[in-house]
């Protein structure tokens, strides 16, 4: 079966420079973008529309990534920038303001990712200074900071949280005992490594070091899961390769890489669908491809998302169409 992908909306962001990230919120009603123009913009995209809700200024350098927190904490967005800052923005009474500004790193903040809501409001941030910070909201405008120094030599480019659910617990016989939740996340760095981290007794420790890339790891993504037995991580690199790492054993100790594809150019992003079954990849060739695993464990490209392919609805913005 071939998947068709078609455009249902085009958003004119009015960013004056490169756009580095675009993320929909949890319910799919809002869109956040960030750019080298140092702004973060939020749009309401319900029903095919695009209403600019906020134009957030506060960064003093290109903004690399944005991340939405779970809506149970309110409308909260995190952004990270070359200016060494992580800013957490919150919507109160209809207007967006800075909730928290974190400047604990000595270099560009490259990646932010919110942990599973089961663990509270906790943000992982990776920096070009090689360190990773974990920021936990503890209430009363207080944030607890834990830092992993020297996580990656030269720099950390990406962080991504593991789902909270214990692997395999969905299909296992209910034990009646309390689930053993462990906070875990994955990071990728300029040391060409993918690293897994886990929290033990309140301390963060390096759990696994995954070596396969021959150049900087540009992005990592831990696949969402409903509790199936396999844990999956995607990593992509300057070396043009995308690897899929899987772990079948419940202890989480044996990770096996599988080469998804070797692209001809750097691969910038890997992004999982919310089910964790489809992987989107974008690379230096500016193509976006979608990948899915077949029953026999082979990954296949199911779509090549071309720009403007098969638009089904009229473009609502007033700007002239592109070409």
């Amino acid at each position: 079966t071939v998947m068709q992908v078609s455009v249902i909306n085009t958003v004119d962001t009015s960013h004056e420079d490169m756009i580095h990230d675009a993320q929909m919120d949890y319910y799919g009603t809002r869109l956040a973008t960030c750019s080298s123009d140092r702004t973060v913009k939020i749009f309401d995209v319900r029903n095919g529309g695009q209403i600019l809700v906020a134009d957030l200024r506060g960064h003093e350098g290109p903004v690399w990534q944005v991340a939405w927190a779970h809506p149970m904490y309110g409308n909260i967005l995190a952004s990270c920038s070359y200016d060494r800052k992580v800013i957490v923005w919150k919507e109160e009474n209809g207007s967006w303001d800075k909730m928290y500004e974190y400047t604990g790193h000595e270099s560009s903040m490259n990646s932010v990712c919110w942990g599973p809501y089961d663990f509270g409001l906790i943000l992982a941030c990776g920096s070009s200074d090689g360190a990773i910070s974990l920021l936990t909201f503890t209430g009363e405008q207080q944030w607890d900071v834990k830092k992993i120094s020297n996580a990656h030599t030269i720099g950390c480019n990406a962080v991504s949280w593991a789902p909270a659910v214990v692997p395999g617990s969905l299909v296992d016989q209910p034990s009646g005992q309390k689930p053993n939740y462990v906070k875990r996340f994955v990071s990728g760095g300029c040391d060409n490594l993918v690293k897994l981290w886990k929290e033990e007794d309140g301390q963060w420790k390096e759990d696994q070091k995954l070596e396969a890339h021959s150049d900087w790891v540009r992005d990592v993504g831990w696949a969402p899961s409903i509790g199936l037995p396999t844990s999956t991580i995607a990593s992509c690199s300057q070396d043009g390769r995308v690897f899929i790492w899987t772990c079948e054993d419940p202890t989480g100790n044996t990770w096996t890489p599988k080469l998804l594809h070797k692209f001809v150019d750097v691969v910038w992003h890997v992004s999982w669908s919310i089910t964790g079954n489809i992987l989107a990849v974008s690379g230096g060739d500016n193509k976006v491809t979608l990948w899915k695993e077949s029953m026999d464990g082979q990954w296949a490209c199911i779509s090549d998302v071309s720009k403007g392919q098969g638009a089904v609805s009229s473009i609502t913005d007033t700007q002239q169409s592109e070409q």
Binding site: D12, M18, D21, A22, S108, G139, L170, D265, S271
Partner: protein
């Protein structure tokens, strides 16, 4: 690969406001240059003399002043993959407000050139940003994942039966040994649907005896077989089709010899020599008389006659199976079926199902044993037909001793192979058929696979159907009392996320605020209840107390 337009690289040593130094530890000390400089070196004396450096201000300044001179330095960090067009950049003196006079090792830009951005939305949306340096170029598109499918999955009875028909036909096109059984399994489900989940043994028996499959050997069609069993051979008299076992009027006997036999038998009885009379009757195949006489003698004699009588049949005769079953034993076929010598397993199962035994457990045990044997020979679908007719309960993927988890697949396989859509659909049709009788029926251990199926629907952009599955699963959970902690939590998560899409589609709202349908509210209560009785939870492994504002509104 570089796009056509020149790359603007802005390197700024940023002014530090004093209030920024407060919270987060020490101020950075410059590293030795010998090491690859990893960090931005933030100069102590970079505060702007008099000019407030706002974000837009700085950007405009950079643009106005031309391109920065740091292209060469950056290229060291970019590993040569990104070519920087140095020629087009004139080496202008840096803007005085931005730059430290001495050469400063700086952090590489995460992205120095435009790049395509991609991410997923909630309900089958895909965001794609075409790379570009300006508003006109950097297009953000929201795509919808559509899929070409040729059937919709409403669960109407007719649709379910039609679906099963298609599956049965598809199975027959396979060439595996088990494929005929696969088709039969689907046909069994069709039968169950048609009869609203109710079936009697004879219905299934009839189904089993229909349409012998092509791979069966011609001589196995007949229930009576030439005996070539390898087991301990009873008195084997070749059975020819048409034998009348009871009276033993075999073709080789003439009426005369039977009269002689009868006379002999009578005279022995008249002499009171019962045991000899019995032996004589058996030898002469006067089974009716032998059985009558033995029934009035001791148990041992009776058993002997019975055994001798049934021993006339080949071991692989379904009648043999029936006799053994009715005697309260697990028939030999249960442990021997599936082998070529035993012929087709279906007539044996048919005869067991069509005839009730005094103790239903005997029958169930025999059928289940048969299923086990078939399974051990790799005849998966055949085994599942046995299990289904014996009402074997559905178990767990991780419990390898469980017999049945999903119809049509084995939980000894890898999970992805095991949990294929066909197996989930097959099990679902069975579950559905049982619901047709009007009673609520659901398989508790199966619900997790419906959730998995729902996520697959979502992958294909069918958010509304995925949401509908969540509702079905939720209602099933609420009907059971079995604690399904993980499933309950995951269904709530998915339903919560999709409910807005559902609301959008149906135009519902509760005064603008998101409103949960009652089943979802009840499910949240159920989860809370489970969490309380099983002391657990992420809060238990928190270092810090959860803040008030972040209590989950479950």
């Amino acid at each position: 690969m570089l796009c056509g337009s020149p790359v603007i690289i802005t390197i700024c040593v940023l002014p530090i406001r004093s209030d920024q130094l407060t919270d987060q530890g020490h101020y950075y000390d410059p590293r030795e240059v010998a090491e690859p400089p990893a960090s931005t070196r933030l100069s102590e004396h970079s505060r702007t003399p008099g000019l407030p450096l706002t974000s837009t201000n700085s950007l405009e300044y950079s643009k106005a002043s031309g391109l920065s001179s740091s292209g060469y330095e950056l290229s060291q960090y970019m590993n040569g993959a990104d070519q920087i067009d140095v020629d087009s950049q004139s080496l202008l003196p840096p803007p005085p407000s931005c730059f430290d006079p001495e050469p400063v090792p700086v952090a590489p830009l995460k992205y120095a050139i435009p790049h395509a951005v991609v991410s997923f939305g909630t309900a089958g949306q895909l965001l794609r940003v075409s790379p570009g340096l300006s508003t006109k170029e950097n297009q953000l598109e929201i795509h919808s994942l559509e899929v070409i499918i040729h059937h919709n999955r409403h669960l109407h009875k007719v649709d379910a039966m039609e679906f099963a028909h298609k599956r049965a036909d598809a199975s027959l096109r396979d060439v595996t040994q088990d494929s005929a059984s696969a088709a039969l399994l689907w046909k069994l489900l069709i039968l169950l649907c048609r009869q609203n989940g109710v079936s009697v043994g004879s219905d299934i028996a009839e189904l089993l005896l229909q349409n012998p499959s092509s791979e069966e050997r011609p001589d196995s069609r007949a229930p009576m077989l030439i005996d070539f069993s390898e087991g301990p051979a009873p008195v084997t008299v070749p059975c020819v089709v048409g034998d009348d076992l009871l009276t033993g009027t075999a073709t080789h006997s003439s009426a005369e010899s039977s009269k002689v036999a009868l006379d002999k038998y009578t005279s022995l009885l008249l002499a009171g020599r019962k045991k000899e009379a019995l032996e004589s009757a058996m030898n002469s195949e006067l089974w009716g008389h032998a059985l009558f006489l033995a029934s009035k003698m001791d148990n041992r004699s009776y058993t002997t006659v019975l055994n001798r009588f049934t021993g006339q049949l080949t071991l692989s005769d379904p009648l043999q199976t029936l006799f053994q079953l009715l005697s309260g034993k697990t028939p030999a076929v249960s442990t021997c079926c599936g082998q070529e010598k035993w012929g087709d397993w279906k007539p044996h199962l048919a005869v067991m199902l069509a005839n009730e035994t005094a103790d239903p457990n005997v029958q169930k045990k025999a059928v289940v044993a048969m299923g086990d044997t078939l399974a051990s020979r790799g005849l998966l679908h055949a085994a599942h037909i046995c299990y289904l007719t014996a009402y074997v309960h559905f178990g767990f993927f991780t419990q390898k001793t469980d017999r049945l988890v999903l119809l049509g697949s084995s939980h000894r396989w890898s999970f992805s192979k095991f949990a294929q859509n066909a197996a989930i659909q097959c099990t679902e049709v069975f579950e559905y058929s049982q619901n047709l009788g009007g009673k609520h029926f659901s398989i508790p251990t199966f619900q997790v696979y419906k959730l998995l199926y729902a996520t697959r629907l979502l992958d294909w952009g069918l958010a509304s159907q995925a949401y509908h599955y969540c509702e079905l699963i939720g209602q099933s959970i609420l009907r059971h009392n079995e604690p399904q902690l993980v499933l309950t939590g995951e269904v709530i998560k998915l339903a919560d996320r999709l409910k807005h899409c559902e609301g959008q589609l149906s135009g519902e709202s509760c005064g603008g605020a998101p409103c949960d349908p009652s089943w979802l509210q009840q499910l949240r209560l159920r989860l809370r209840g489970l969490q309380v009785t099983t002391p657990w939870g992420p809060s238990a492994c928190h270092d810090r107390p959860r803040p008030q504002s972040s209590l989950p509104p479950l």
